[in-house]
Symmetry: C2
């Protein structure tokens, strides 16, 4: 491992540990009523995961010269939204998954009603945090902009819309355009929010740089999702902590299933290159975002 | 009907129609993708209901001299939260209800996955609306305060927490204190939000009047819930648009089930009187709130 790669590995671990600590601080205590709901919320959020979205928020903020402390509220908010979506997507009425990161899913560890409620309460915690978190910029206009970004990216023209397209695609042939749109909404929108929320904390940011960061996020978000689907088909189940079945995975409406494995691998590389091209104006300051991009597209888990 | 009662009836109808129109305007079109999700969201929200929460927002705002136009965003946001909670509470894993207002519940009219997603997307629409709605006060600090109020009242120390207590109480004897706490969170919190969001749109409001309105909301919110439970036991199923079964209703953890019917009726009257007592400083301006209170505690549906 080169010196740079090893220092990025340390930085990544530091961002992930920070995320874990800050999430735990913001989740309500399981000792307070309603205890079971609080316990389910903590279960759905804590205990690992790559923390891709908070890492992107910290990396973008670092590239823009922001202190990590000012990013904790946004990083946690986007992860609360992601965690709620997993708790709901895993439900029997949705994807009906029993395992997540090698552990029982929220409705298996608790029960369906509690998993639904925990997801609902995590969503509201995300927005309550952006409104109230003492570590975020004090300016109410900035906080309002963060809420605008995260709400738009979580709604029907974002994450929830992507899940709806995913449900609609089940059991029928989807076109590559449909699958791409589904990925852009279902995963891409929150990746975009992770990057643009950090950018929105810099009021003096040039519109050109803000637009570049959005394009970077959209490219790396789609690359990340296609890579995720490739790993579901050909990855190592021990590393992934979940079942990997080529047949089952290929039956789902994903980019590799529709375009083929080779075309999907090529597309990941193209999108990676495109993402990096949007970082040129940032110059050497873009290094954290380049490192995170490489991690996202070359990871094995 | 006296002149006053008849003019309140007209005002109530006007507020309810306004709510219906403003909700419809803010819901995404079923002609746009994802169509089925948008259709389910509209189904879960539109088509009737008493619109108690928006009515309270309009009544409070009217008492404080605010134009109705400036209240539409808050009125719709609280109703979106209420509608999402109904779509989720009706699910098989929760209360498993097939009918709501005489119509199939959202998961019966669509499917469970779509009903879960529609609820999720309605919750985010509430917060997106408060952040972006052009009719709300421009001041970002006021909007942020509205988001603080609605998020707190929807979370684990509010509506979601109340539903968790309701689930926890099933199949065991709950004390009157536990049932009261459940009501205060499950129903009371959103009633409080309906009133305090309107109050928060008046930056110059005296702290005494703001506190009085909170106390008014808490008293009338609990009275409303107890009256609702009384109607579930002894009401007219044709008027209510849902099954009424005394045995079944008395088995649920509600105030009348735990304290008895007579004690519950007395408590509604006491809370009504208490609620009105907190409106004294408003003088004659409080008439819309007095009228709404009377409607809430004397209604038969």
């Amino acid at each position: 491992m080169s010196g740079t790669a090893s220092s990025f590995a340390a930085q990544l671990t530091a961002w992930q540990s920070r995320t874990e600590r800050e999430l735990a601080r913001r989740l309500p205590s399981p000792d307070h009523s309603p205890q079971r709901l609080h316990a389910a919320m903590r279960y759905a959020v804590l205990g690992g995961g790559k923390r891709v979205r908070p890492v992107l928020t910290y990396a973008t903020g670092t590239a823009l010269g922001l202190p990590l402390e000012s990013l904790d509220g946004a990083a946690c908010a986007v992860e609360f939204i992601h965690a709620y979506s997993l708790a709901h997507d895993d439900l029997p009425a949705m994807d009906d998954d029993d395992l997540r990161r090698g552990q029982p899913t929220c409705h298996k560890a608790f029960d369906e009603a509690t998993a639904i409620l925990a997801g609902d309460a995590l969503q509201v915690l995300a927005f309550e945090g952006l409104a109230k978190d003492p570590t975020l910029p004090k300016d109410p206009a900035i906080r309002l902009r963060l809420i605008e970004i995260l709400s738009h990216c979580s709604g029907t023209q974002g994450m929830a819309g992507g899940q709806a397209l995913d449900l609609a695609a089940e059991g029928r042939d989807a076109s590559l355009a449909e699958v791409t749109q589904m990925h852009i909404w279902k995963t891409g929108a929150l990746i975009r929010a992770s990057v643009t929320m950090a950018a929105a904390c810099v009021p003096a940011l040039s519109p050109k740089l803000a637009a570049d960061l959005e394009k970077f996020a959209d490219a790396i978000g789609l690359a990340f999702q296609i890579q995720d689907d490739l790993l579901d088909i050909e990855g190592d189940p021990k590393l992934l902590g979940k079942k990997v079945g080529a047949d089952e995975a290929l039956a789902k409406p994903t980019y590799p299933a529709v375009a083929g494995m080779d075309a999907a691998r090529v597309r990941v590389r193209e999108l990676h290159t495109e993402a990096l091209s949007h970082l040129q104006d940032l110059g050497p300051r873009a290094q954290p975002l380049r490192d995170v991009s490489e991690w996202l597209v070359f990871r094995r888990q």
